[in-house]
Symmetry: C2
Subunit: 428 residues, 2 copies
Amino acid sequence: MLLIRYPEIQSWAGLLKRPVMQAGDMDMVVGSILQAVQTSRDSALFEYTEKFDKVRLKDLRVSAKEFREADNKVEPGLKEAMATAYRQIETFHRSQLFKTEKIVTSPGVTCWQKAVPIQKVGLYIPGGTAPLFSTVLMLAIPARLAGCEEIILCTPPGNDGKINPAVLYAAGITGVTAVFKIGGAQAIAAMAYGTESVPPVYKIFGPGNQYVTTAKQLVSRHNVAIDMPAGPSELAVVADDTAHAAFVASDLLSQAEHGTDSQVILFTTSERMAGAVQREVGRQLERIPRKKIASASLENSRIFLLKDMDAVIGMVNEYAPEHLIIAAGEAESLAERIINAGSVFIGSYTPESAGDYASGTNHTLPTNGYAKAYNGVNMDDFVKKITFQQITREGLEKLGPTIMKMAVAEELQAHSNAISIRLKKKYD
Amino acid sequence: MLLIRYPEIQSWAGLLKRPVMQAGDMDMVVGSILQAVQTSRDSALFEYTEKFDKVRLKDLRVSAKEFREADNKVEPGLKEAMATAYRQIETFHRSQLFKTEKIVTSPGVTCWQKAVPIQKVGLYIPGGTAPLFSTVLMLAIPARLAGCEEIILCTPPGNDGKINPAVLYAAGITGVTAVFKIGGAQAIAAMAYGTESVPPVYKIFGPGNQYVTTAKQLVSRHNVAIDMPAGPSELAVVADDTAHAAFVASDLLSQAEHGTDSQVILFTTSERMAGAVQREVGRQLERIPRKKIASASLENSRIFLLKDMDAVIGMVNEYAPEHLIIAAGEAESLAERIINAGSVFIGSYTPESAGDYASGTNHTLPTNGYAKAYNGVNMDDFVKKITFQQITREGLEKLGPTIMKMAVAEELQAHSNAISIRLKKKYD
């Protein structure tokens, strides 16, 4: 990890720049996949699955039998762990359920919001090196809690035509209504447009590679909503002289093992800590199975040595990390000063791993600096807050002149007429 | 208005289709504007303003002097109306302020969300036929309430180089930090990338034509967040035999006058009411200044005569209108059954105009069927809900085995190590 000492404030934005992803060709490639699925529907899905996942499927939808087989394959200890994580995630997300409150904004004028579940949602779970059943929990538990009627899930099959048993088991316990063996941009297309097998949904959630992300962005322009733009995962750690270098190193490595494009950054006020963490990272790196991936991502990683905690907080807020661990004295008061981050982990016994699996917070979080404007997935994402208003004749008599004045000033006479016609005559 | 009698349920989706907007060329045209602003910055903005708004400006930013002039020009009655609307909107939006609640998800594990304002937001206010100062109120009041530090506003100048005084006055009273005389896609580019005059923002809000909407969608792929995709405005009215035809007609016309692409739909169970509303629309249409616009939009409008309220509610939820007025007996219980709509107006004395200006609800709402997945602008839009978690050593001892089990099953050993290293050693 490259150590950068006391950078000038003017250089921060430049030093914190993420690698830029090229999108030009991606749009063309993904656009043609979307087009093909829109036109040829299931038959396009079968073809892409044969091409990309190297398997010729008979059915896109996972059968009841396959669910039962998965259930038999998942070991009891893992089932128990998932049950614990389920309870944790459910407890925190349940606390976010929106409660309607009717507000009388003036006499006779009552306004309120009501959270109504999005009826049909689609979850995308990537395939690849690790079976991300934890992401199934993170997306399906709140969808279920919100009351979404249809919760479908797409994930690419292995070349044996099967889905990882733990992923299927997680889908089963969270009440996912149907699982489809479809990956990549074609899965996003299927959920956006619908095919013979796959019902169309109103909102698509979940992480994925650049093809998946591009597909989500393209379909969101016309057809469906998406959770947020996704990018490579990130962790920033704030550590002062009181931190435990071995803990910090283990956190940095837990992020670095995600992928070669992961970013990890240490912000510290202690040159001693910077050195100790570097040594610990080197030591611990030797012992992890995904050493090669972690080494590559450490190449792009940085340690910033800064003169005080004000500079640290300033630079963290400029970076807007997806995950932020604060391993420092006064961790709580430092946490209060964070204005741009996805999820914050306070103190030495709160590793990022905890939030990835089981503290209860959601692990679907904004990356790539989007934490300046977006938050992670929460219960708001699975509902629409519809506004309602109810006005009495007396309320309208009082508020009507205001409305008419403004409507006429905006040159919208018919808007004013809708008031005057009600106030002139005494219907009811 | 075309009357369609008792359509079969299978035909609903087809009958409710909105006109499709073509986006192909739009992307090219808008893309080149975005590119020019990114490269040539202010000088591109001056050129586009000369080209599109027919005025050569010296300064893009509205001066203090211009604000004072605007203040003098707005008549006291309108100022008073805006003050009333301000209070109404503020009251409802203040009730939405998020309150942090710390949740103990298991002993020693505490999770919470905190709403932190998005520091820099940009508002776009269209020019064109009507000066939309009400939209300034609808966007700037919640931005201010949320605590956004920088609230900038772009709106195209008239060919005299001036901004409508009511728009400037509204910007002044809501605490907008800077107003720029920039319209169209170039305004969106300026706020996304920043120029010499215009600071870049993290999120862009506001309505606009197809160029503006396309620009918002394109910049949202890489740089900033946006409020929602926008389309032509819409109103659906549910009316039974107890409704007042004259009121219903006035509501339909208030929507129809917005633009030639506006959509208005009447859903009714009463053939008599259908006829009465048609006659009333004809009569009232003669008396409004924007008759030509309203007539054109009525061409695309429909009356659906349905056999009962179940069918009405079903078809409304299929359509997912931006605005919905329920002018029927049992309006409240019908409102409870609405699952897809932007904003709902209950009863005969609750016209859409009220919500457009002063009931307190926000008038920036999802159109084009997006109400199935999106809600209108509310306080959530101006903040990020950052998640925090704090775990004690005892809490981690309890939850650690769950996390380790799951991490290892996902083949992420370093995630597990971040737990085991903390549990093995007894630091601190």
